[in-house]
């Protein structure tokens, strides 16, 4: 069995963001980078499927500048066999169709049976790449997966719907699954596995060679939303803050009456 997992490197969402000089994206300086949260579940599920299958081969793919290799190493330490880094300093400008198209061209002749992606990236958050990949390669795709099973050539998953309801769905390989939070418990790479990962294949090649579509959208401007919050911001010493808050709660809510 051949498995592909697509991951994205994103900034820590608690970072202080700045808009870049072109006003089209956030500035990439001074940010701490990590694996897109949704993709951690995708990697874990891919590794579990590989372990279940025994003779499977698992590739982790990431499009982005050289720094993304750090994040790919984490995926290798979690258990992926090899890394395909599709080098692209402009990846932040690429719309989901372009990203999906690059992945599709990479995957086209490689006959992956199962492809895992996150259901969305934390920064761009379009939730499109996995579905578009499925459309381009004519593979079936199930989104928002929170339970995954593979038996006798059949994929059985649960999709998460609103209000905690789940839809039970089955399909066959080849298939793309987009992974939702809570699908599994992503493992922490152990020190021996981190060491082992250093010896694994991690090849870089230019993403531009694989880009076969024109973009259909771009960012006109990026900006901070106007603060609507009319709320009060309290800062200072803990003791003063607690007193102030208690006073407010007494005045404004019936709770401490």
């Amino acid at each position: 069995m051949k498995i592909l997992v697509c991951i994205k490197q994103v900034p820590d969402m608690e970072s202080k963001f700045k808009v870049n000089s072109e006003n089209t994206w956030y500035d990439s300086g001074d940010l701490a980078w990590r694996m897109n949260e949704y993709d951690e579940y995708a990697v874990e599920q891919a590794v579990q499927l590989k372990e279940q299958q025994g003779d499977a081969d698992l590739t982790v793919l990431c499009i982005g500048p050289d720094r993304v290799k750090e994040t790919m190493k984490k995926a290798l330490a979690m258990g992926c066999d090899r890394g395909a880094h599709l080098q692209d300093d402009e990846s932040h400008k690429r719309e989901p169709l372009e990203i999906a198209s690059i992945i599709a061209e990479y995957a086209r002749d490689k006959e992956f049976d199962v492809v895992f992606t996150g259901m969305q990236s934390q920064d761009r958050g379009s939730g499109q790449v996995g579905v578009l990949l499925g459309e381009i390669l004519d593979m079936s795709c199930v989104t928002t997966v929170i339970e995954f099973g593979f038996e006798a050539g059949e994929i059985k998953v649960k999709r998460e719907l609103e209000g905690g309801v789940k839809a039970k769905v089955k399909t066959t390989t080849p298939a793309v699954l987009t992974c939702q939070l809570g699908l599994n418990t992503p493992r922490y790479p152990t020190l021996p596995n981190i060491m082992k990962a250093k010896k694994k294949e991690l090849l870089s090649s230019p993403a531009a060679d694989l880009l076969k579509v024109d973009s259909r959208q771009n960012t006109q401007t990026m900006y901070f939303p106007e603060k609507k919050g009319v709320g009060l911001v309290l800062e200072g010493e803990i003791a003063d803050l607690t007193d102030e808050l208690i006073k407010i709660l007494k005045e404004k809510t019936g709770v401490l009456a």
Binding site: M13, K158, T219, M222, K227, I238, L249
Partner: protein, 305 residues
């Protein structure tokens, strides 16, 4: 401008997002038609043309069948815009329809400015205006971003559609949400633990504050996913919808899916080390502090009142 609105139906019922689609069409001044895989016994209050396919025949989740039906309507109506809710139905189907239409797809639209869709970036800390360069576009709308002033009325003019394709995906039915345990929807005070609590042991300090305030404790999703707190205490789109007199969010960033579950609270206090956390947008009071110090200190003072 012509828009095709994709309504939603699940398990015998129409879903609420349909009214928001109509409100959106009205806001941008579009002429609209509607599409639904559903049932004649539950039609949306909509005065326009509705293309209806039968949910029993087509399956309630069968993306390629639904896609083909939508494409038939697109062919006939030639809309410039196809509009979905940004929901488990919409985000699954919209890219498929857009790909077939060779149209740009813009996800989670929260506003339209100078005819450009506006979408959130980085957990709503930033926004961007999107320039679509194709003649046609497909949007998904963030839940709650467009709401109608009044409940829509009217009866649609129905045209039925039959499916003429089979999908590769087999829908085997629904599994209901877990029931039982606490019912936060009745709580008057809720203190919620977000990922900012850092470790499972710290749930206790959140629970202690809830007790001191004679309320219940809740949690955001990552805390539930990590199994630090049971699922029936999760607040948000995939958990409980709550409306207490007081909601205290401890270490919760304020993602849209969390806000959707608690924004009807009467008074909201947020405790967060990040002054720019989006929860500030709905908070009446944002206390910029480390919850590990602030929460126990507050609990002590409340107890001594």
């Amino acid at each position: 401008m012509k828009a095709l609105l994709i309504a939603e139906y699940r398990d015998g019922k129409l879903l609420g997002g349909n009214n928001e689609l109509m409100a959106f069409a009205e806001k941008i001044g579009a002429e609209s038609t509607m599409f639904l895989v559903g049932n004649e016994s539950a039609l949306p209050a909509y005065s326009g043309k509705l293309y209806l396919a039968d949910g029993n025949e087509c399956g309630e989740y069968n993306p390629s069948v639904h896609k083909d039906l939508i494409l038939k309507v697109v062919e006939k109506e030639q809309p410039e815009l196809v509009v979905f809710s940004h929901s488990s139905y919409g985000w699954d189907l919209a890219p498929r329809v857009a790909y077939a239409m060779q149209a740009a797809q813009v996800s989670e639209v929260v506003d339209v400015v100078d005819s450009m869709p506006v979408v959130p970036v980085c957990n709503a800390k930033l926004r961007r205006n999107v320039k679509v360069t194709t003649a046609k576009a497909v949007y998904t709308l963030q839940a709650g971003a467009f709401s109608a002033a009044e409940e829509p009325t009217g009866t649609p003019e129905v045209e039925k559609l039959n499916k003429d394709s089979e999908g590769k995906i087999v829908f085997e039915g629904y599994e209901e949400a877990e029931k039982g345990g606490v019912d936060l929807s009745k709580s008057e005070v809720i203190v919620s633990a977000g990922r900012g609590v850092g470790k499972p042991e710290n749930i206790e300090m959140v629970a202690a504050l809830a007790e001191a305030l004679k309320g219940d404790y809740g949690a955001s999703r990552p805390v539930v996913d990590a199994e630090w707190v049971e699922h029936n205490r999760q607040v948000g789109t995939t958990g409980q919808t709550v409306s207490p007199k007081l909601y205290v969010a401890c270490g919760v960033s304020g993602a849209i899916q969390h806000l959707a579950g608690m924004k009807k609270s009467e008074f909201v206090v947020a405790i967060n080390t990040d002054k720019d956390a989006p929860i500030g947008e709905v908070a009446d009071v944002l206390v910029v502090a480390d919850l590990k110090q602030f929460v126990p200190a507050l609990t002590e003072k409340v107890k001594s009142l």
